[in-house]
Symmetry: C2
Subunit: 244 residues, 2 copies
Amino acid sequence: MTMINLDGFFKSAFTVDNVIFGFDEGDLKVLLIKRGEEPFEGQWGLPGYFVKENENLDQAAVRTLEELTGLRKVFLEQVATFGGVDRHPSGRVITVAYFSLIKINQYTIQPSSIAQHAEWVSIKDAKNLAFDHGDILKACFNRLKLLVRTRPVGFELLPPKFTLTELQHLYEAILETDLDKRNFRKKILSMNLLIDLDETQEGVAHRPARLYKFDKKKYDELLADGFSFELKESRRKIAEHLQN
Amino acid sequence: MTMINLDGFFKSAFTVDNVIFGFDEGDLKVLLIKRGEEPFEGQWGLPGYFVKENENLDQAAVRTLEELTGLRKVFLEQVATFGGVDRHPSGRVITVAYFSLIKINQYTIQPSSIAQHAEWVSIKDAKNLAFDHGDILKACFNRLKLLVRTRPVGFELLPPKFTLTELQHLYEAILETDLDKRNFRKKILSMNLLIDLDETQEGVAHRPARLYKFDKKKYDELLADGFSFELKESRRKIAEHLQN
DNA sequence: TCAAAAGTGTTCTTATTACACCCATGG
DNA sequence: CCATGGGTGTAATAAGAACACTTTTGA
């Protein structure tokens, strides 16, 4: 990039598209918008917004996420940029995809117009999206799969107190595989990153499970020491799954 | 993204910035441009180009890589997009960073104006880059580090015939660590992805090394079976290095 | 004959896998 | 007392890490 000359400008727009993941009832979900108008009327789409002239990309993602969900300080990461010439019927729109992880029970619908049409859709049912949003979702889901094996981001999707089974189901939903209960617990507990709260579930029709919380302070210390959070068991299973 | 309205447009430009890696003399290098004019005159910068109105982002990256190096069919991957409001002094410029891996001895300087100022700079010496190119380079280098552990991209940087020591040095340069010679060979050879060419180096003042080539066909077959290329030894070492 | 890099195996330790039964609660 | 999910350990296998000497060539 030497100098900006006018040849470099053409009629175009930047947007951010948010892939917002949540976890509920053992199911990984994504927050989608039911489109009320053409193009792609009636189909699901990702919430997308223009980037403003005076804001950075990350700022735009944070702002729009808050506009939609009311949540701040959320895990959010840029994934990829989609700029196909014909990806938007109205003109050249280049979009930067971000994905975020939120605790679904902290989400409250905001009074924006777009939010009126927002719904949590199971990742399994999120098919036939508008524009190239299917590709975008796929890229973000793949990134999440990758990330979850090397960083403890899963906790972003769970309530502050959770059971080991909930945690396992979360990993199973993200990795799209089954995990062995004993091995999973052994591995997770051996990291010493969970605090046993010495509390149990109440009102369940079976032996109540112990509740844990994630020890973020300890994790940050370990990170500084070069600690690598890693779930191995999942690796091979993922490879098996790739066969399909 | 509902409809394009004019509020979404402002004076801005898209560019792609190419981080082009090569490997030579045991050193990982990146192709940089010595800037001949302000801003950042005299500093190193990444080769960057405007995205044309009628081309996709990937096409822009491929096109500009060829304009600079004369090479086609090169490993190339999008890494991240940088869109800080003030990243470019002349206006809002959002750039999509790509990194590519080329065989440095196949590179021939092309007669474009920018190429006249291109030079291979050791990754260790690539400091104080223009704009936010330091951040971009770092992001791409990190991506390469990640990728090299799970996919056999290293071969893209080596000549078609190489020795195991050259391969090891490449990994050491990328991972910024030392590897054990015996363990490295054991691991690499156990994957059965190298074809022993039954040839040896000539004219070296020591025992000549055997030459190998990468068995791409076999790798593609294995990939289809969910095979995961993985170098384990490096993992812990990287963690140690993160301490610095 | 020397310098320089190539080539080669074994042992120890750690991580991963597979696997089945009893426990606590609510209905 | 039954259904439901919670909770626990061990043994076999596989992978990773540490480590030192001999070989081949050109100069």
